[in-house]
């Protein structure tokens, strides 16, 4: 058959590989084109749902996803802060906090009211040991609710730690590093909030560029 003869040629392999690569890229580009709006929408829905979880019902009536401000942390990284308002009055803020756990960063959303008391914490991303460190997820345990109502000074800074370190928060049997990471992330988040409270509620929503330092 003609195809057999053609296959003997050296160029056949190269052309074949090229065509397969081209076909695969084309298929992926097409799939990306058709899915990326839906994926973005689904991720926005996820974020919205997580934001709702760290705020009490009826706490805010604005669209938090559209009322954001970007601030620089001490280490230079950017934090996106979602502001909760009831009517025109600012009620609180939600932002991401992270700290290194047993395996990679533990990322959580932290909701804080105007006085700096915790409204809620939810871990949204982590790679901790399944069945052991993953009790920090709300789906797998109530531990994370222990932060509700706490703030800097309640408990005091030394006591804002897991029990093993002389603090008030439980660790898990066999897993201290993971809860320690979450406690540290939350404490640092509260400190960040204390240091940037003025900027967070400054009038202009969503400045296009960050880096407006304090004074």
């Amino acid at each position: 058959m003609n195809l057999d003869k053609l296959r003997e040629k050296l160029a056949y392999h190269g052309v074949l590989l090229g065509l397969v690569g081209l076909g695969a890229s084309g298929a992926l580009a097409t799939a990306d084109y058709f899915t990326h709006h839906d994926i973005e929408a689904a991720e926005a829905r996820d974020l919205q749902a997580s934001l709702k979880q760290v705020l009490p019902d009826g706490f805010a009536d604005n669209d938090l996803l559209k009322d954001t401000v970007s601030l620089k942390k001490a280490d230079g990284s950017e934090v996106k802060v979602y502001r909760a308002r009831l009517g025109a009055e600012p009620k609180g803020a939600v932002f991401q906090v992270a700290s290194r756990g047993y395996a990679g960063d533990v990322v959580a959303l932290l909701g804080v009211d105007r006085q700096g008391a915790i409204l809620g914490v939810r871990v949204i991303k982590h790679m901790e040991t399944p069945g052991l460190g993953d009790k920090i997820e709300i789906a797998k345990g109530k531990w994370i609710l222990g932060f509700d109502g706490k703030s800097l000074g309640n408990p005091s800074v030394e006591r804002f730690a897991v029990k093993k370190d002389g603090g008030i928060f439980d660790q898990f049997a066999g897993a201290t590093i993971t809860p320690r990471a979450v406690v540290k992330a939350v404490r640092e988040g509260l400190e960040f909030y204390r240091d940037h409270q003025q900027e967070i509620y400054a009038a202009t929503p969503s400045p296009p560029e960050g880096g407006r330092g304090p004074g």
């Binding site: 799939a31 899915t35 829905r45 789906a139 066999g174």
Partner: protein, 227 residues
Amino acid sequence: MNQETRDIWADGLWRNNVVFAQILGMCPTMAVTTSGTNGLGMGLATTAVLVVSNALVSSVRNVVSVQVRIPVYIVLIAALVTLVDLSLNAWMHDLYKVLGMYIALIVANCAVLGRAEAFAAKRPIVASALDGLAMGLGFTLALTVIGLVRELIGAGTLFSQASLLLGPAFSFMEIQAIKNYGGALLMILPPGGFAVLGLLLAAKQWWERRQAGRPVPVADGPACCTV
């Protein structure tokens, strides 16, 4: 059911089982079998990819030359897995949040490439798709069993969080098998995976030897890459 179909099923589910006979796909096997539910989820996702990748490879088997077949299969499989990943993320987002961690790992499962090379490259489309289904279900069975043993000894539960994977109707599968159990951390960590797999392999060999009354022949899987 004719002889060929019977052979495909027997090979996939038991005789030439991806995990218990070919010892392929060890990366996902060790990584996700910390619970029965995780094993089941990974197995089902892999099965779906195996069926389509086998059919795809079989359909281009007359065009692809022997010299470049491996890169062609890898590109096809990787593209396929990415397509599954994108469409799940876009249109079945709740399922994706549960299965998401497994999907990308499927590319690293050389059982998929192994079936392309050992079966689909030589056989017609329907038989290849069936082989993918049988091998995938055999893989699912192995992962679920390993996961259940590790979960039972490690945490004292069976199919915990099955309702997250399969829907609330399946919450009856979640069983607290041992009450007030402190847990055996070793079984959840990677060494437990190797220990359970080794013991299950030994049990399978023992059983087959006993059935046949003679030493068992060494399995004939493609030894392309045991990852």
